[in-house]
């Protein structure tokens, strides 16, 4: 991680305005605070990293041993032999990418209906969407499984893609964002002769990059880290995701935590890459700033 922090920082957004007061001292203090804070929130991750370099029976020691007595880099080689990690990573990737793509697409599409088109029953339907998020999956897991079983989709990736791609989360998030886009924009486009679909595609979508980015990020991460869904629906080993694959190190009476942590560190890398790339879209859309 230190290596990552040492790389020359990239300037995001606009160039810093010269601060009027405080000057360099304030800046240094601010950065120091941010760096300390960032490192502090990462302490548990440091434990993960350190455990991933230990022998299994050294992981849970009292008091915590932050620096392993011997660094077992072999863990990172061994894990590929112990479990088919490439297959699992690939499966996680397939699921996360398809779910994210579908969720972003259908979610932002439906959100337009909820935010910009007025029709009777709209708000009631929207409430139904939100209400389903309120029911814990523990409660409807079995009925859902039964439906999937009837559809013959159990033990396929398709079952999980279908389950997670059409959740209410994306619809809700995008609707809230669309509400902040002034109606005058779509009115103007309507006068220009654009259909509602045209307005969605040409006006609204380009404006909602930050929201699309956050939806994509969060959906990707949640799908990647999901455990119970893949666990219940996927039985064949060659369909397993990383999260199930790593749990295979938990036995009936004990667990190989060093291997689990090694695998967890590896599985965090793709997420962080996606995050680091995706957060670049958190910059002001040029069109909105030009408005009003």
């Amino acid at each position: 991680m230190t290596a990552l922090l040492d790389t020359p920082a990239r300037v995001t957004g606009r160039t810093p305005r010269s601060t009027s007061r405080g000057g360099t001292a304030g800046k240094v203090a601010g950065y120091t605070l941010l760096i300390v804070l960032s490192l502090a929130v990462m302490i548990p991750f440091a434990w993960m990293l350190s455990s991933s370099l230990k022998q299994n029976n050294q992981v849970f020691t009292v008091p915590i041993q932050w620096i392993p007595t011997e660094l077992r880099w072999e863990n990172y080689a061994e894990i590929w032999d112990r479990i088919p990690l490439w297959t699992y990573l690939g499966n996680s990737m397939i699921l996360s990418v398809s779910v994210t793509a579908l969720q972003v697409l259908t979610g932002s599409f439906a959100a337009y209906g909820f935010a910009k088109v007025r029709f009777p029953g709209r708000d009631a339907l929207f409430l139904a969407y939100i209400a389903t998020i309120a029911v814990p999956w523990q409660a409807y897991m079995v009925p859902q499984y039964i439906i999937m079983q009837k559809l013959g989709l159990v033990d396929t990736h398709l079952s999980l893609i279908l389950l997670q791609a059409f959740g209410a989360f994306g619809v809700f998030l995008m609707r809230q964002f669309y509400l902040t886009i002034p109606d005058e924009l779509s009115e103007a486009a309507r006068l220009d002769g654009l259909s509602e679909y045209g307005i969605w595609a040409r006006v609204i979508l380009p404006l909602s990059k930050p929201a699309l980015a956050s939806l994509a990020l969060l959906t990707f991460v949640n799908t990647w880290n999901d455990y119970m869904g893949p666990f219940i629906y996927l039985t064949s080993n060659d369909l397993w995701t990383v999260q199930i694959g790593l749990r295979a190190f938990v036995g009936l009476y004990d667990a190989e935590y060093a291997m689990i942590m090694t695998g967890s560190v590896i599985s965090v890398v793709p997420i962080l890459t996606v995050f680091l790339l995706g957060q670049r879209y958190f910059v002001r859309g040029i069109a909105t700033s030009g408005l009003k």
């Binding site: 050294q58 849970f60 020691t61 479990i83 159990v154 199930i244 749990r247 295979a248 009936l252």
Partner: protein, 420 residues
């Protein structure tokens, strides 16, 4: 009006649930390309649990017309998945029963095939733990493995103390005398894992107390001994072990604890890890300490079993397998890899003792031949509710929030009021 509506919804939901029992794939037994019968068996952590492979390989060698296909499920949430699968009308032929409580649930719901006739034809005396599967005179599963608790010890740390016939008082004195060091260097006289069974099931098996009974005064002595050890610093404080998720392996195999009451399953792990160079502890096995001398070795444990799914595609082959695995041949196959089987006779025990690295001294022999093995938790429809209450109150006693008498009284009150 609303009631009618609700009933309507209910009827639809009911229909949805029921019709599924017949959904999902054909009922015919499947065959492999070269004509063998396919037998699917649900297992946990196939790669990390060598007993399954050992059993399956031996069975296939014995029955060349059957091809076993394991259905691999994670150990952690095994029963949750099996429950869900069965709700969806799953057709896996053989289901491994991870514990007796789940078994009782599947059995009473009618999800397993009745095996009573088969059981009646068996030499029941040769089986450990078979009684646990008796549900009102009917059997729906046959055990192939029986774990029970013993006392592990680190030969270097314990020295030449005689462990063949300890009482708990002697165990406590020994643990105190073998404790030394400080901070990260501290070596505890013993490690008692955070599970409630370490106190409660041990007490139940040796005092005859009933864990479902609602009166728990018989746990007092075992709690007093444990908390006294903790106060003396001879075992790791329960709060630390619990919140830091300490594993017993990390204490025993690194030489941080001299003694360890634990299940017989741990020997297989110790042997395998030592062979792989992961630890170099010179360890031994002794009988679990007893409440009183001269009453024989009383311990507790739980059996693991195979059952035939009522919806099995290949019920005949499934029955053959379940009977085979629990019998002498299956027992030999698991004994050879250091797992204690349910069925034992001299040949099987010899195979178990013959495992390279297994302690074979007289103390170990005594430990591996207990006089009585009580079920870890008696089977009843109240077992899991009571189990939860006992676990919660165990935490409160061990973390020092409640005194022993208060905690024990609360257990009784809650079991009487909340379960029933």
């Amino acid at each position: 009006m609303t009631r009618h509506l609700m009933k309507g919804v209910a009827a639809v939901a009911a229909l949805l649930m029921v019709t599924t029992a017949c959904g999902g794939g054909s009922d015919e037994a499947r065959k492999t390309a070269d004509g063998k019968d396919i037998l699917s068996i649900s297992v946990w952590n196939y790669e990390q649990t060598p007993e399954f492979k050992a059993l399956f390989d031996a069975f296939e060698a014995d029955n060349p017309t059957i091809d076993i296909q394991p259905v691999d499920i994670l150990a952690d949430d095994y029963s949750d998945k099996v429950t869900t699968m069965l709700a969806g009308g799953d057709k896996t032929d053989v289901l491994t029963m991870k514990n007796v409580t789940d078994y009782a649930r599947y059995g009473t719901r009618g999800q397993l095939t009745d095996l009573t006739e088969t059981v009646n034809g068996l030499p029941k005396d040769s089986y450990l733990g078979l009684d646990a599967f008796d549900l009102d005179g009917k059997y729906y599963a046959l055990p192939y493995r029986q774990d029970f608790w013993v006392l592990y010890y680190n030969k270097k740390l314990v020295g030449d103390a005689d462990l063949s016939n300890l009482t708990w008082a002697e165990y406590a004195a020994l643990a105190k005398s073998k404790t030394n060091g400080d901070g990260a260097e501290k070596v505890y006289g013993s490690y008692q894992h955070v599970w409630r069974s370490v106190v409660q099931a041990i007490a139940a098996s040796q005092t005859g107390g009933d864990q479902l009974g609602g009166d728990y005064a018989w746990m007092t002595d075992q709690y007093t001994m444990t908390l006294d050890l903790e106060k003396a610093g001879a075992i790791m404080p329960w709060g630390t072990a619990n919140s830091q998720k300490v594993t017993y392996d990390s204490q025993f195999s690194t030489g941080k604890a001299a003694l360890l009451p634990m299940g017989a399953w741990y020997s297989a792990r110790l042997i395998a890890d030592k062979a792989a160079g992961k630890h170099d502890v010179d360890w031994g096995v002794a009988p679990l300490p007893q409440t009183a001398k001269g009453a024989g070795v009383k311990t507790f444990g739980s059996p693991t079993a195979f059952a035939v799914n009522k919806n099995a595609r290949n019920a005949a082959a499934a029955k053959t397998f379940v009977e085979w695995a629990s019998g002498e041949k299956g027992a030999t196959a698991v004994a050879k890899i250091g797992i204690y089987p349910s069925f034992t006779n001299d040949a099987v025990l010899a195979a178990y003792a013959g495992v390279a690295g297994m302690p074979t001294d007289d103390v170990a022999k005594k430990a591996f031949a207990p006089d009585s093995v009580m079920l870890e938790m008696p089977v009843s429809d109240k077992s899991s509710d009571v189990d939860q209450i006992l676990k919660e109150e165990h935490e409160l006693i061990m973390s020092g929030e409640k005194t022993i008498p208060d905690g024990i009284k609360e257990m009784g009150d809650r079991v009487k009021n909340e379960v029933g």
